[in-house]
Symmetry: C2
Subunit: 412 residues, 2 copies
């Protein structure tokens, strides 16, 4: 393999997470080694993903992050420090001018290493850019680096960003369980958790089972059709056992006909990828419980905090996110291209992972659902196997640096 | 002063906070000293406040918390470990049998020290029980220990529990500001914060101003009538300056006629104290901005996490909460009764407090609002004086003890 010499560029895309900047830090650390070995001259950061790249909005990341201390702060900063975008790339067959434009910019800046940190839709971008540059004979190593709190990417055991979201959800669920237990009055509390198609995040509400023995009475995932009669019967039976019933639901729960439980409250808006904006499953169920069961009921939407509560990040997740970013730089230097980095769990008693790669075309536009053996028979909770899978991902706490009582963040 | 010998009892009442158990720990620590000196035989904990006391649901707290380690865990446990209630005591003039019943239980257990940790409504209970037992000539020292995330108690500089809620809100606001800044699309994010009558919690969203320079564009408090035209003009002008507008509102914001901004979504339910259940100001404004300004808009209700996110508690708040509980035991031993403990801020450059007492009758059923000099002229933000008042209260982080990735809690 010949050494490919030139510059590198990295971008962040899709929804933010608490760990996406840790991955960026890893790419920067890897790029510093590539610069030291003479492989690259610098690593550019594209502002607002591929959209900003098309406008040549680039910054010199090796100059900006010139100390380990700055990188430590970057690793504890939530959301995409470089900004993000939600641009859907046209098909290659469309022969859209956007690809020519991209190629011209790659040439102008002598970009030979392209890193894109994102989820499903971003891997689609990586796949298309990789195939286009290959077709044109422009030598550039194109690497997708996974990130999504949703944990719904194929092949990788889990995704960077998920562990921190899971830790936030598991911790917050325990705090809400304590809060809801103080009164003797019958009451139902519904925690609405992110997850459009996959129920990984909602499942994380149950992690406490194997830590302290406390968890919500029920967890409803989008992997099972939602049955209102069964739900009301579940809640009734729980209220017979104890006064404070706590339920976790995924925002994506839907009836057998595919319509969302919260759809009565939806406005029908869709994002550029055609995903429906979801919210309101909790509010809808709140109204129904009030009407049918007549008890006090409250719904709590965990909302954005699930992806940005970096102060309670999982150390395991942050460490892995940095490692994945660094491994991406190494893999590119080794000649890999059109791959996505993966985290592979070693089949051992104790949790251990290695980092690998997979052809990015196998990843794009697919969704990894919670498997059948992780969901209980009644479809209203998760199995011990599921908790065993989740528990290692929330281990460890980061030593957050605070200034005057608030966590310190990098702002570019 | 003669030494009053007997037993002590402590209860928790009203809504939970992240620090109410730290105060309980302080009372236990103080009671251990009283036991050592022979003043009391034990400290009972009443389960579910005065309601549980009436059913003689008592536990021996000195036996349960027999180590410093257990008390440390208690101090990091959110919500009322003893359970709570929302019982409104009848007026003394009603000559309700409840008072005779209470007196009989006091006598049965030889209760001579009565500690009640709570907010405004709980101080009403303390005042009534204190006056009743005095009237009957039953010697018992009755002490109110303040707690409320709302910070709306009179005379005390601030209330235990507020600092931790403020730190959660200030931290979460910064994380949301980072999250909202990633896209270039015009968007408005509304953070709805607790506070029925007083805007202290919403004001805390602005603390970042003096730490990192970032804060929401506007903060709307219930101390000012809400004007929809002015609000829309504020938001329009902010959107002209930058794409990502973030607004903090108190749940209690209302129009000049007193009707709540979220009232279109209210169900009119009231709690036993006649307070309206509030929610929905953010959702109401979300709909109006969507309609009038046509941009992307999202509302986030911080909800219960404001009072139970103990993992991000303020060390200043937790330390003061313990100290106030301990001081309550000492004050009772010194002969004080029918008082509420206060935190008094020393008028110095650097933050310093002492703990005092005030006649509880001066506290009950009053609300301390955010003063005029803490609110800006336009009524859409807070002044530097306000931030200077708030900033010391969120200082310091507790060393949370974790087990298997989750904070450890005491469950009684």
């Amino acid at each position: 393999m010949s050494i490919l010499i030139g510059n590198a560029v990295v971008g962040q895309s899709g929804g933010p997470t608490s760990a996406i900047n840790a991955t960026l830090s890893g790419v920067i650390k890897g790029a510093k080694e590539l610069k030291a070995s003479g492989t690259i001259n610098t690593l550019y950061g594209m502002l607002n993903g591929i959209e900003g790249f098309l406008e040549e909005r680039l910054i010199d990341l090796l100059g900006f992050f010139d100390s380990e201390d700055k990188l430590s702060i970057l690793e504890q900063t939530p959301a995409s420090a470089l900004g993000s975008c939600r641009k859907k790339m046209p098909s290659l067959e469309s022969e859209d001018v956007i690809y020519e434009k991209l190629l011209a910019i790659f040439k102008k800046y002598n970009i030979r290493y392209f890193f894109y940190i994102g989820g499903n839709d971003s891997m689609d971008t990586v796949s298309k850019i990789g195939r286009y540059t290959e077709k044109c004979g422009y030598e550039m190593r194109v690497i997708g680096v996974p990130k999504t709190i949703d944990n719904d990417l194929m092949i990788t055991d889990h995704t960077p960003g998920f562990g921190s979201a899971a830790k936030y959800i598991a911790t917050t669920t325990q705090e809400i369980l304590r809060d809801c237990s103080v009164y003797t009055l019958k009451a139902v509390t519904i925690i609405e958790i992110m997850g459009r198609d996959a129920g990984w995040l909602a499942a994380s509400a149950a992690i406490g089972r194997k830590v302290c023995g406390y968890e919500p009475d029920f967890v409803y995932l989008p992997e099972r059709d939602f049955d209102m009669d069964k739900f009301l019967s579940d809640v009734r039976s729980a209220l017979d056992r104890h006064p404070n019933v706590v339920i976790a639901i995924s925002e994506g729960i839907h009836f057998a006909d595919g319509s969302y439980v919260g759809s009565a409250l939806q406005n029908g808006a869709v994002d550029v990828f055609g995903h429906k904006y979801l919210a309101g499953g909790g509010k809808a169920l709140e109204g129904i419980i009030k009407e049918k069961l007549g008890c006090k009921v409250r719904s709590i939407e965990l909302n954005l905090c699930q992806r940005c509560a970096a102060h309670i990040a999982s150390k395991t997740d942050i460490d892995e996110s940095v490692a994945v970013g660094k491994a991406a730089a190494n893999a590119a230097a080794q000649g890999e291209s059109r791959v996505m980095m993966t985290i592979d769990r070693t089949p051992k008693e104790t949790y251990e992972v290695s980092i690998g790669t997979v052809c990015v075309d196998e990843i794009a536009n697919q969704t990894k659902l919670v498997p059948d053996n992780f969901i209980n028979e009644e479809g209203n909770g998760v199995t011990d196997e599921c908790v065993d899978y989740l528990l290692p991902l929330i281990q460890g706490e980061i030593s957050t640096i605070y200034k005057d009582g608030l966590p310190v963040h990098v702002i570019i």
